[in-house]
Amino acid sequence: MKTLSENIKSGIDYASLSRKNRSRDIIFASLGIIVLFIAITTLVALFLDLAVRGAPRLTDPDFYTSFPSRRPLDAGILSAWVGTIMVMLVTAVIAVPLGIAAGLYLEEYASKNWLTDVIEVNVSNLAGVPSIVYGLLALGLFVQTFGMGETVLVAGLVLSLLILPIIIVSTRESIRSIPSELREAAYGLGANQWQTMAMYIIPAAKPGIITGAIVGLSRAIGETAPIITIGALSFIAFLPQSPVSGDFPFISFEWLNSGFTVMPIQMYGWVSRPQADFQITAAAAGVVLIVMTLMMNALAIYIRYRARK
């Protein structure tokens, strides 16, 4: 083993070696920045192209208040955005409580046994199932076997199954990030599992759980494939029945069984039309869709940021 001074004498040039290493570091760091730049450029180019191309329709108030039409410059997104809101309502009502409940069970109650193992493997596998396979599930089970048709309810159901794993995983992660002292203190005071969970764990994990639910819903808003599979159409020139009416009993659930279209389906329908003018309408629909999802994502990021402080 040579000593440092021997190495210097025998001619290993440490200065140039360290210079070489430093230049490698710089090269690698700039590679990282270049990749980052490509990703950001894509994001900006995508948004700018949509905004510029869709500007004529976006600035037209009729775009938001009229139904789709054969004439591209008259076509609007009324049925699409109403449909999206209704489908998301169903999705939120089903997926959020179910996902949070399953996540709570796995973190707080589940004992180490075969059932827990099955559920855990199953949840992590479900998260990786392609969305279109959920569409096939809905087509085969809800639409054909149960005869429910292509309705708002079926769309909401399939999207809630799709985002269920996201909500379960984020619920578990936010519960796991709570210091165990909190739980131990509650048990130490004589609280049982339910009291510990309801009074200490859920309030402490709330920001994380809400963030997860929003991220899941924002994914559902943009999902196209499973809704195409159940047979939703892009040309819907009516609105589902209003959930509130002037007559008794004032609240109607007829809209659940109504035909519908949603924003991504509407956009897909327009993109695949050959007329060039439909690309303008598609771009405008894309802007509205992105703004919807980005707003939800931004809200989630903000909640997490505030909770961390």
């Binding site: 980052l36 179910l98 943009g222 196209t224 159940i230």
Partner: protein, 313 residues
């Protein structure tokens, strides 16, 4: 603190305690079973998927031989004399996801090394939300982008490129899954204990050498898991390809041509008027089963590898 009032409270507590405790335990048990039911529903989803795919695919394979399905290179379910060879759909799936991975793996690796080994926390905190935004853009919008922006752009370099091709959706998909690959492999690198990095620095390693000689080898199983999960994502991706690659089954490995993938075939049949129980209707479940099995294998390998690195450190 034995004030008279608190002593009175104590005695009254003793009187109600059994009732109180029984009620409390009942609530606890009810809550347990309700929450358990929710967890079991998630298992029923998987059971439902497997049941639907299997039952419809079995009817399909009563009419089409399994041998034809796995050996024929022609997929024409809508013709009057239909043929059902899965290869044209598989070749499209392989080409598009291959391009996506060729973009996403090197980029994802560079970016994750940069974020976990080079970038200071401030940069990391600003970059992560940007990547999340990139992930939040709906896939149908990426499809539009591939068809309307990227394809014309590529046509200026590659004059022979048709309007529908696999190259543009592949490239766009590569960028689209970049946040996913990056965050998974960054997780793996973060799991490498700092003591290993410090040891490398103490030996005089540069950051570059620490990353390539210590961190990446130590995180290898996690990084591999990230890429396998990305592969699963790319194989199951639908809308980008459905919009920009033309949906025509085409047995080719040339990215300059348009083709259908397993997913886009399902979209194409669903958009058309196909009656329930017809052979074309059944064929989407057979195709869906192949897709489900492919992604299931990738996911299981990926989860196994991820579990291993979590145990290692």
């Amino acid at each position: 603190m034995a004030t008279p009032s608190s002593r009175r409270l104590e005695t009254s507590k003793v009187q109600v305690s059994t009732h109180f405790l029984r009620k409390r335990e009942m609530i606890n048990q009810v809550a347990r079973y309700i929450l358990m039911l929710a967890a079991i529903i998630s298992v029923l989803v998987t059971v439902g998927i497997v049941y639907v795919l299997l039952s419809e695919a079995l009817v399909f394979f009563e009419q089409v031989s399994v041998w034809e399905f796995v050996s024929s290179t022609s997929w024409t379910p809508m013709f009057s004399r239909p043929t059902f060879g899965i290869w044209p759909l598989l070749s499209g799936t392989i080409v598009v996801s291959g391009i996506a991975l060729a973009v996403s793996i090197p980029f994802g690796l560079i970016l994750s090394v940069y974020l976990s080994e080079y970038a200071n926390p401030k940069v990391r905190e600003t970059v992560k939300p940007i990547l999340e935004l990139l992930e939040g853009v709906p896939t149908v919008v990426y499809g539009y982008f591939a068809l309307i922006v990227v394809t014309p752009l590529l046509q200026t370099f590659l004059p022979g490129l048709p309007g529908f091709n696999m190259l543009a959706p592949g490239l766009v998909m590569g960028i689209m899954i970049l946040p996913y690959t990056t965050s998974l492999s960054e997780d793996a690198m973060r799991a490498v204990p700092n003591s290993m990095r410090e040891g490398a620095y103490a030996l005089g390693y540069s950051r570059f050498h620490t990353a390539t000689k210590v961190v990446i080898p130590a995180a290898m199983s996690g990084i591999t898991a990230a890429f396998i999960l990305a592969m699963s994502r790319a194989v199951g991706e639908t809308m980008v390809v459905a919009i920009a690659a033309g949906q025509m089954p085409n047995f080719t490995f040339n990215p300059m041509e348009g083709a259908a993938t397993i997913t886009t075939f399902i979209v194409q049949v669903s958009m058309g008027d196909v009656s329930h129980g017809s052979i074309a209707y059944l064929s989407i479940f057979a195709a869906g089963m192949v897709l489900f099995l492919l992604t299931l294998i990738f996911n299981l390998i990926g989860f196994y590898l991820r579990k291993r690195y979590r145990q290692a450190y």
